[in-house]
Symmetry: C2
């Protein structure tokens, strides 16, 4: 079982600790995504060296390829992928509704086609739990029905109610008490439904609560407005997990609103596209002006990439389409997020989260591509103004 302790709060922001069968996880925490039993491009050692001890894998992907039975033969996912840290598996709900051509859903379960070979499959809440118990992650998720951004209220309400019924069935289907089952709050972009979903699921006394169906295309103000409806209705002593959020600026906003856990493919996916996080914002490593820069991507970063390679070398690897570039960029972005979460946690414990937030907003520019010189200057200014 996963045991969560709330250590400190500062405004809405929370710092805590999750004791799992595979290690202690300080929160707030970002979880790198390893859908197919690998955090793309990295070895388990590199993930760990980047500071992560809890990662996510996807039941949908592993069910289709290599098959949960094969992984069960290996004693579960930890041994199959050689990861001795903690694991969380998503139930497959989101992937069925976003990746797979959907065949038919009713109260009993959902028919879908594999996005790989078109083969037909049937998932139920009970099967989602059974598959996850074979994979054996520390934290497992209920099967939920995800609405699409733009669905009418009636449709979203029906999906939410089915998600609630499925949550109860997942609870009843649990066989392994060593795995911790989280509920998933749904309700789309309707404040009333979000409140209703949070309250209903809180009443079922789950050991943890995810917030699903957000960050799926809606404006960010709406994401955070929905979050504000949900978190106050969840129990203080359980972890809250916002699914699918992972940009630096959104992680800060999520933590401000009381979220403890996040996952997202964004940091690793954009890394493979050459978009790197730095203290002053996101940069595109392919830019011609980086061709000769004999300095790390971010002077403030302690990642393997920044300690060993120049911006010019990274620029070269990306232009030459060398796979090492994808690795080095992934390592950098993940370490950046690790350090960001760590700084947030420290500021919450010190009761200085809002001044951290103000500094971060001043320094970090999520959209505009700044020049290298400007970037360095901004970083120095940020250092000076923070008195560091």
């Amino acid at each position: 079982m996963v045991d969560f302790t709330l250590i400190a709060s500062d405004g809405g922001a929370r710092a805590g600790e999750m004791v799992t069968p595979h290690g202690v996880i300080p929160t707030p925490v970002f979880m790198p995504v390893g859908s197919q039993a690998t955090v793309k491009t990295l070895t388990p050692e590199e993930v760990r060296e980047s500071g992560f001890h809890l990662i996510l894998a996807n039941t949908y992907h592993l069910y289709l390829r290599q098959g949960v039975e094969v992984i069960e033969q290996f004693g579960g996912l930890h041994r199959f992928m050689n990861w001795d840290g903690a694991l969380l598996t998503d139930s497959g709900g989101y992937q069925i509704f976003s990746l797979a051509p959907l065949c038919k859903i009713d109260d009993e379960g959902v028919w879908f086609r594999s996005h790989i070979d078109g083969s037909e499959h049937y998932f139920t809440p009970e099967l989602a739990v059974a598959c996850q118990e074979k994979l054996g992650a520390d934290i497992i998720m209920v099967l939920d029905e995800c609405s699409a951004c733009g669905d009418p209220e009636k449709k979203v309400a029906a999906a939410m109610e089915r998600t609630h019924r499925w949550a109860e069935r997942c609870l009843a289907a649990q066989r392994r008490s060593d795995l911790t089952l989280f509920a998933i709050v749904q309700g789309g972009l309707f404040p009333k439904l979000r409140r209703q979903s949070a309250s209903f699921l809180a009443g079922l006394d789950f050991p943890g609560y995810a917030i699903g169906g957000l960050s799926v295309g809606e404006p960010k103000e709406v994401t955070f407005a929905m979050l504000e409806e949900v978190t106050p209705r969840l129990p203080d002593n359980s972890p809250r997990y916002l699914m699918g959020v992972g940009s630096p600026e959104d992680l800060v906003e999520g933590v401000r609103r009381g979220v403890d856990m996040f996952d997202c493919v964004l940091p690793t996916r954009v890394a493979r596209n050459g978009a790197l996080f730095t203290s002053s914002g996101r940069i595109n490593i392919r830019k011609a002006s980086y061709r000769t820069v004999d300095a790390p991507i971010d002077a403030a970063c302690d990642c393997y990439t920044c300690r060993h390679f120049s911006t010019a070398y990274l620029n070269h690897l990306f232009k030459a389409e060398e796979l090492l570039g994808l690795r080095l960029a992934t390592i950098h972005n993940l370490r950046f997020l690790h350090n960001l979460m760590k700084r947030m946690r420290e500021s919450i414990i010190a009761g200085k989260f809002e001044s951290f937030n103000a500094e971060f907003r001043e320094a970090y520019h999520p959209t505009d591509e700044v020049t290298r010189v400007e970037q360095k200057q901004r970083w120095l200014d940020a250092r000076n103004s923070s008195g560091g």
Copy 2:
């Protein structure tokens, strides 16, 4: 300067030691290829941990991208790519004749077009040396004219004679005495020309000799017959380097005929295609029967991959097209070659090379010829299209 000492011979096979400015290299040695200043998919640490202390980079690629002047600003290739071991740069001759659409060659030099953007460039023996001196590898190569497999004797002889004149000009163009310049023996598939080229270049007293223009599509018997014409005519106290050879079975045959150094993209390229070397031969990791195998790829292998992951996991990564699979396969194949070279060296020193050879031929089955055929075809296609 690179200093070569012959330690032991056993039949034709030789064991030696090369002292370079960046470390001592036991021979016979296989050099992993890092054309674009990176051994594809690996960090410098991983290359070193696989047992390699001498790798190859390509002047042609680095001249076109990131530019030798940029790398010179970094103090050379070692620092640019963060590799503190020894380096050898190819002159660009082979790449100009195999990759680039050729414009015009005469005694002065060669016009070619970049295979990347079609831009026009002019290379001379002097420029090839100057570029390599900016890159600063421990061993650099003369500019040579490569013949195509199937060229008539007259054409091959003319290319060989130009290669000889260019070798003399490269010697004269050298400015840095800390870098060691190797000659390249040419002469196509004509024994008389091969003898002539070896004798001529040996007379110029180079510190090392490469054998170029072999393993380019001709039958293996021909490759090794040519080699037997060349090695006896090269001085005993200089290293001999067979370019473009790297399959386990060919390395053994090369060593038997007195070769000290090898390079080839084959081990890393076929690794990325899922072809893995094992004690009993080459396997295709994608094969369905590997789906559930709970054992390393090769029980006799001490590589990172075999120590940490099962055959089933590798099979999964390749089927799921995960980049980690390419890395783990590359690490395995390189370590396999490192161990093979080490075993050959030990058997030479012990005076037991022929019994090693017999054992190896008994155990190792170079099956899975598909990739090799494909590779040859690709090369032939490139040659044909650049000729047309």
